[in-house]
Homo-oligomer: 312 residues x 2
Amino acid sequence: MKTTDILIVGGGPAGISAAIWCQRLGLDYLLIEKAEQLGGQLMGIHNQIVDYPGQIYATGKDFNDQLIHHIHHLKCNYSVRTPIKWIDLDKQIVKLQWDETLLHYCYLIVASGTSVRKLNIPGEQEMIGRGEIYSATKDRHRFKGKKVVVVGGGDRAFEGALLLADCGADVVVVHRSKQFRAREEFRKPVLEHTRISVVEDTIISRIHDNGSQVDYVELENVKDGSMQTLAVEGIFVRIGVQPNTKFVKEYVCHDEDGYIQVDTCQRTNHPSIYAIGDVCTHPIFSSISVATSQGMIAAKHLSLQLSCRNVD
Amino acid sequence: MKTTDILIVGGGPAGISAAIWCQRLGLDYLLIEKAEQLGGQLMGIHNQIVDYPGQIYATGKDFNDQLIHHIHHLKCNYSVRTPIKWIDLDKQIVKLQWDETLLHYCYLIVASGTSVRKLNIPGEQEMIGRGEIYSATKDRHRFKGKKVVVVGGGDRAFEGALLLADCGADVVVVHRSKQFRAREEFRKPVLEHTRISVVEDTIISRIHDNGSQVDYVELENVKDGSMQTLAVEGIFVRIGVQPNTKFVKEYVCHDEDGYIQVDTCQRTNHPSIYAIGDVCTHPIFSSISVATSQGMIAAKHLSLQLSCRNVD
């Protein structure tokens, strides 16, 4: 069986930072990422990153290129296209998808981030399968003069609706209640925009396609159960994110929204499991700075734990 | 009287990050820095910065140049050469050294960092006055073939001693006890180095100069009180750092080492005072990533506090 002192799961900014610090502290570690490349949610940022002190990046990809250059320069140990087949958190053993052997770890750093929430309705998976996942920033010009639906009542839904409407799309915002979480700076412009209509107390119950793309949706009023259909050419689902905790969920404490609970050293309640980045950070404080900071803290704390072990 | 919602005191990475986020969140704020320029302790880093994910910087100055470019680009509100004359933490009023008017703030973000500890012995202030503050990294070549004393028993003292000895200096490490905090990777090479001698249970009690530079020091054995003198051409005081909390010390809780205690939102016990960066971070976790992360968290939390106020 192979062994590593520290197994970092997830190659976004948090995991990359943990790897950089593990490398610098001379620790025995491995970073695994299931996707084709490192970067995590960075790759989905199509606008400027202005709030990571030191550099302004044109897109998430630009920043990610720098991160990859950074960890190559330091010769960090990482492996992409490396999903977990199964993990035994009691025995601290992991089976990687493409590896015949088992890997024993002493400490696990969960850096698996968040995923966008889905509607979980008929037609949605087919839509995703056809690649109909749009960025309001990147794709806003292709919906000029077309009708689109934006689902959600928070900042990201309202900001997206404004971007699309300002570029000439006819936008219908569908929200399941009359309460909007979106902050005032987005709410008023949305409610007053001539190209945006808001349908309250309503959910999308089904997505229909015409064989090649979205054709129309069925809307259901949650108060009186009445139904209607709406012809649209694009759907933007903006109902928030959820932490990717499936593989550790039974073992670690999390809050009511599913975020893993950690102490100031990034320790979970389980002695061999740490968590860093968005998987343990509520969206309000989610940022690249916080993710990289938590990666540093976990690595530093583990270096102390491991050096105590070596002394014993 | 002038007013600002948020007054950030200290222009190192933590304060700069807070300013970037305040700017981005559209808050009313001002960053003040007493020194000639922004950067804080960054300006004293003469080796590569490899652990701030995204970019490797040749020196702290290089990184600082980028930070300054960043906040200029965002048009952040800051003022250098702006020491505080006095502050009334009850009335939330500050008088700046060069400003005739008073400034009222709603929230104070303390980002004043740490300073290196001094020996507080005769001759030290004169030495500092002559500019005899050396960096083991930057100045190591100028002490080739010369005798220097390094004071301290921690990582920075031992690492500095090694750097100097490897460049040909004859190094005497003076430490007040027999216990060294320095980690194993530094301890063994220091104790075995032919150009390094270690004097335990000893303090420097006085520094003598020859009119233009350090000439010799008086050493005192703390066990038996015996005295000796030692001719040296350079002194490196490496006895740790202390948080710069003088102006808020009576108002906020701090730990036994003087670091301000904060919660996960960077709040102190005092409702109008937040703290970020090294002033509230024990050296073990001190890093640029942690400082910038805390700046982000404080600004974001304050934006929530202030928007609640506006609603009331």
